[in-house]
């Protein structure tokens, strides 16, 4: 059924807004559309491993793409690093807190006895990046015991916007969309591994339109829609 009509894209859940918009625009232009399945990158990768009918995989981090690459389940020459993102420190919008993020900054003091909301530091990409940044900046040891690890970035965002946690670390893309929070500061790009969203065709992809959609995602027409959601578009524009 699924492989009959449209190319199938397996995409990390955090891409939903941008991809839905791009997909709609592609349809308007070409009368073709992609079917997008949003879930956790981990689940998507394992599904592809067990023969899911996906043509394109967009992971929220490099690990799960590497996982598939190692198992020879993607077409290596189609792999492109499509997007970049930033992580930011946020607080509820009425919070008076002011911090300059930099080496040795005292996050623990700013937290007080509150907790720092972030994605699961071993499972959720944003959590992993946040942990790396804090370590790099020497703030990890002070807050390690005060982390609230959320199941997703969105859950971490909610914890801050509901005032459960005084501070949180989320993607810039998420922070921008929630009026209940304000961005206290952005982590320096060099404080953590680059936040990258790789994209590739799967090994079994045979849908004639898959390559076209892959190209469209990298095209100038898609770029503003990604940027509108706060992503940085890293791949060079492909002309169709």
């Amino acid at each position: 059924a699924a492989e009959a009509k449209d190319p199938v894209v397996f995409a990390a859940a955090s891409l939903k807004n941008a991809l839905d918009a791009i997909n709609a625009q592609w349809k308007a232009e070409t009368a073709k559309q992609a079917t997008v399945s949003y879930a956790a990158s981990s689940a998507l990768a394992k599904q592809i491993e067990s023969g899911a009918p996906a043509d394109i995989f967009i992971s929220a981090d490099l690990d799960w793409m590497d996982y598939l690459a190692k198992k020879d389940l993607i077409k290596p020459d189609s792999r492109v690093t499509l997007l970049g993102n930033r992580i930011v420190l946020i607080a509820p919008k009425d919070s008076p807190v002011k911090i300059d993020i930099g080496p040795g900054f005292d996050l623990a003091k700013a937290l007080g006895d509150g907790r720092l909301a972030m994605g699961d530091t071993s499972a959720v990409p944003a959590g992993k990046y946040g942990k790396a940044a804090l370590e790099k900046l020497g703030a990890w040891a002070g807050v390690e015991k005060k982390i609230a690890q959320a199941e997703s970035v969105r859950a971490a965002l909610l914890l801050v916007s509901r005032g459960e946690a005084p501070l949180g670390i989320v993607y810039a893309t998420d922070a921008a969309a929630d009026p209940q929070v304000k961005i206290v500061g952005t982590f320096p790009e060099n404080s953590h591994p680059p936040i990258l969203y790789p994209i590739a065709l799967t090994k079994d992809s045979s849908h004639p339109d898959a390559t076209a959609f892959l190209a469209y995602l990298q095209s100038g027409k898609a770029r503003p829609l990604f940027e509108k959601e706060g992503f940085t578009v890293l791949s060079k524009p492909v002309t169709q």
């Binding site: 059924a1 699924a2 199938v8 397996f10 859940a13 955090s14 939903k16 807004n17 079917t35 997008v36 399945s37 949003y38 879930a39 689940a43 998507l44 394992k46 599904q47 067990s50 023969g51 899911a52 009918p53 996906a54 997703s152 969105r154 965002l157 893309t173 998420d174 921008a176 969309a177 929630d178 959601e229």
Partner: protein
């Protein structure tokens, strides 16, 4: 209230959820009855083991159940490959797979309901049917089954309700493919994962609640009707 209006894609998810839940409920029913019968009446060695296995989906995180399903029933999994080759039944990334996941997750609840009603049946009526010439299968069909109908209805409704809410195992097993495996719950989940998705999540949640409430109400009405029909003689 225009934010309450569903997009076509959301209508698809609603429709799919109903289909998936309905078939999950219906297809697991015979197995539910058989297992409930075994647990209620059977005296065999692996009784406790069977009881344990039936309850597993309740105990395990849904994601784990989903992964186990993927490993077993996926296209490359031992059972999945077998069913595909010999019967042409494919679960992976089909709505049928979503139904399987929901059925598995709802199974312990269905079995519990039916088992309790079987344990309440007056076995003397079954004996009486036997003396009238009915063989055990016919006794079951004409006496036991009608008498446990309230329990079966309750089991079906709770399974249906659970299936409407299930997404952890489903999304892990068959992904979240709109029109194929994206149920209402998965759609709600997707909304919760992106900025600004709250309104959408809320809208779909209301739809889910309305459907489930309707099912519960219906089951109460049905159960009351059946109970009246079979009031103790």
């Amino acid at each position: 209230m225009s934010w309450l209006e569903l997009s076509p894609a959301e209508w698809t998810a609603v429709h799919l959820s109903l289909k998936v839940s309905f078939w999950a409920m219906l297809a697991s029913l015979p197995f539910g009855i058989i297992v409930a019968l075994l647990l209620a009446r059977g005296r065999f060695w692996g009784h406790s083991l069977l009881n344990g296995i039936v309850h597993l989906p309740l105990v395990l995180p849904p994601v784990v159940t989903g992964f186990l399903l993927l490993i077993l029933f996926g296209r490359r999994g031992p059972i999945g490959a077998f069913l595909d080759q010999y019967f042409g039944i494919v679960f992976s990334f089909r709505w049928t797979g979503a139904a399987l996941a929901c059925a598995v997750m709802a199974f312990p609840l269905m079995v519990r309901s039916i088992r309790l009603s079987i344990e309440a049946v007056d076995t003397r009526l079954e004996v009486a049917a036997g003396t009238l010439g009915a063989n055990p299968v016919w006794v079951f069909v004409t006496v036991t089954l009608p008498l446990i109908l309230p329990g079966i209805i309750a089991g079906m409704v709770i399974a249906f309700a659970k299936a409407m809410g299930e997404f952890g195992a489903t999304i892990t097993f068959v992904s979240n493919i709109p029109g194929e495996t994206q149920t209402l719950s998965a759609a709600i989940y997707t909304f919760t994962q992106v900025p600004g998705g709250d309104a959408g999540a809320m809208r779909l949640t209301i739809v889910a609640v309305v459907i489930a409430m309707a099912a519960l109400l219906l089951s109460e009405v049905l159960a009351r009707g059946v109970a009246r029909r079979i009031a103790a003689a």
